[in-house]
């Protein structure tokens, strides 16, 4: 028995020839790994250089970078939320609306109904979690197609946001609250650091803990995961709930930073988030949804848009840019995968 397996293993090893082809010297190999994992970062630097050349006049590089990293964008939060669900093999089209609902609930409760900020913030997060739970129940427990469920529930959440805000953009929260999001640390707003810390925590969880491995297995084959004793239902429901919670917290922070929120703008985050998450799969852990890749991708895309705006392209370019980035990212990732998987 022992000999059989071993010998056949050796035979196979003989066939694959792990000689010059698979190991092109340790240096070349390391180079390839860096290129594959951090190609996106290189591309980013390249893009920055390109814009530096193209943009007319003397634009200060550090200022531009600060402006990009300092944007009051929920994209990192939303990207993380989407990574949560996509990593366990689910789809989600409702995260932007959940975020919008939470972000609207806070100022609506504070300004229109006179709640205190902490109470309103807690309520917003609870509301987000409830929507996440509905998603989870319909997709995981009942077993309905996740694209449809999240499309529908997203629409309901969007409607709820309009309802609670009395159909307008609410603003007028105490401006002192904006410190929560906008106070600067090392020249960048706290919002950026929250995102960075969350991403780091998630990257640790996904990469180094058993839960992360469980998520990977659930995402790759549910039945197998179940037989391996992984609580698949719990992991999947947990993904929807965590995703909704992140959206909720993101909404609260963004609303505090802005002093209010316009529910109509929530949906517009859908495309950039998808583009970031899929672009993120070509970086750091190629072929897998991963938080750090997503983080890099968010700022890669924001830089792109900002650069195009510096070149005086206006509105429409953004849509086209995100759309093309998404399709390109997925195509490249797909073709890479195909090469890897054989």
């Amino acid at each position: 028995m022992t000999t059989t397996s071993t010998s056949s293993g050796q035979a196979r090893a003989g066939v694959t020839q792990p000689g010059p082809k698979t190991a092109p010297g340790p240096l070349g190999r390391a180079g390839r790994v860096v290129l594959q994992r951090y190609g996106l970062v290189l591309l980013w630097l390249l893009m920055i250089a390109l814009f530096g050349v193209l943009v007319p006049g003397q634009v200060s590089g550090p200022d531009a970078l600060k402006a990009v990293l300092g944007q009051q964008t929920p994209l990192v939060f939303l990207g993380l939320a989407l990574v949560c669900t996509m990593a366990v093999g689910e789809f989600d089209l409702s995260f932007a609306s959940i975020f919008g609902l939470a972000a609207t609930t806070v100022p609506a409760l504070v300004v229109l109904y006179g709640w205190s900020f902490p109470a309103a913030a807690a309520a917003a997060v609870v509301v987000a979690a409830v929507i996440g739970a509905i998603n989870a129940a319909l997709v995981v427990l009942v077993g309905i197609n996740s694209v449809i469920v999240t499309l529908g529930i997203g629409s309901v959440a969007g409607g709820a946001a309009y309802w609670i805000s009395k159909e307008t953009s609410v603003s007028g929260m105490d401006s002192a609250l904006s410190a929560i999001a906008l106070d600067r640390f090392l020249g960048l707003p706290l919002l950026f650091w929250y995102g960075a810390i969350l991403v780091a925590a998630f990257a640790y969880m996904m990469g180094a803990t058993p839960l992360g491995r469980h998520i990977l297995f659930v995402g790759s084959n549910r039945e197998v995961a179940r037989l391996a004793g992984i609580p698949v239902t719990k992991v999947r429901m947990g993904a929807y709930l965590t995703s909704a919670l992140i959206c909720g917290v993101g909404g609260v922070i963004i609303a505090a930073g802005l002093g209010g929120f316009d529910p109509a703008t929530a949906e517009t985050n859908l495309m950039p988030t998808f583009a970031s998450v899929f672009l993120g799969t070509v970086a750091v852990v190629p072929g897998r949804f991963n938080p750090v890749g997503m983080f890099i991708a968010v700022y890669f895309l924001l830089t792109g848009v900002f650069g195009l705006q510096l070149l005086s392209f206006s509105g429409w370019v953004t849509n086209v840019f995100y759309g093309i980035a998404l399709v390109l990212a997925v195509t490249v990732s797909f073709l890479l995968q195909r090469r890897v998987r054989g």
């Binding site: 397996s5 056949s8 180094a208 803990t209 469980h214 037989l227 004793g229 072929g287 054989g342």
Partner: protein
Amino acid sequence: MSTPRLQVRDLSKTFAGVTVLDRATMSIAPGEIHALVGQNGSGKSTLIKLISGVYRADPGGEILVDGARVGPPVHPGRLHQEGLSFVHQDLGLVADLSVRENVRVGRHSTRRFTRWIDKARDREAVRQTFEFLGLDIAPEARVATLPPSERVAVAVARALQDREAGSGVIVFDESSRAIPREALPAFYEMLRFLADQGTSVLLVSHNLKEVLAVTDRVTALRNGRVVDTGVPTADLDEAALTRLVLGREGTLDDLVTTFPAKVLPGEIALQGVAGGRVRDLTARLRRGEVVGVTGAVDSGLLDVSALLGGARAGEGRIVVDGASLDLVRARVADFLRAGVALIPQDRAGQGLALGLTVEENVTAPHLTTRGKAWWTGRRWRHAETDGVLDTFGVQPRRRDAVVATLSGGNQQKVLMGKWLLGGPRLLVLDDPTQAVDVGARAAILEATRKAAQEGTTILLCSAEVEDLAAVCDRVLVLADGVVARELAGPLTPEDILTAIFTPVAGGAA
């Protein structure tokens, strides 16, 4: 006798008012290899899924491991501690992860404070498990790079790890289907080794030879009821086992003699067919002849049917009664026009649209030839479907039954009917008896023979030497992508087996 390792008492399962498992009871002793046999749809997988907690059993009934009650309800998360482990039908490995990650999933060791996965301890645990199995597989190797026999070992290692030697039950539901023939001896050896240590093995299988050769005792299910349990295989022969499964005699007659070949005018030539592992397949097939194609896993056998049925791109040509079909350019539609039809092995994936009705499935390939572009027609569809239902005795006999609701054997019959309906000139069959019970197997092989008599040339691609011996007039044995041998009837399974595994002079082994 000591406490049984696994005991199932009075387990029932009802789906939407239909009882598919009725008070099933069985008992497995420590250190035995126990077979679970039964016709398609008799409830084997349902029983396994009740034990593994995929389905919730009807009230009443018990599952006990070493005398301790584990359910129902079964808690999937606790199964491993309770001593039950399951090997997924397709082994369930993630190919681009390492052996360590595949084995340890679900029970990673962690460092105390960081909750970080402790790779060193995991590696050690994996090494220990393999050591116990008497294997030497590098824990950090990617599963994708392992040969099939080692992949089986990885799946088994996952099921057995962290267990005291000789404890627990390991369950295989038709896993041997995912194991190539060459790796089977090693697999059986591993099972025996485990049993000798005292671990119990529960094996679901349709392969009666395998059951007789490998297992100690047998439990048989029929229509959701246990008809006999704990029968020692030593007391059984193939006929008795068949009787146990079917509830009647089910000898595989010598179909070749019962339905002798009628030689009809016409000839099909395969010329230089190549693609995948097939390098050059050249042969002449007479009309009304059943020709087998077989070989080892890496002989190219697995690619033959797909090539000849147009399912994958290839080179060479098929000449049907003088009309040539160029494989490079031909689409599936061209194959059909030339009268070449393929019945693939993967019923759910390639053979039938499970969500559609019997009639829709049966008539699909014939719509363009029998219907008009603006009207499919109605009468011919009803008539032809009824014909298929009657010829093959499909149950239930309903044109509008959704195929997914039929049992596996009946689905296979519908699949055969769908393609025989057009009266093809060449019918390429790919292992048509896979996962089919002995009764359905006989029906399918009989239909094959009958079709040949009516003027269809049959090319049966299979590794099942019994099937080949039972129906083929001739058998072509592939080795290294070319026809290495040709055996003429009358054939015995042993002859064919020998031919497959005897190296060809000058060729690669």
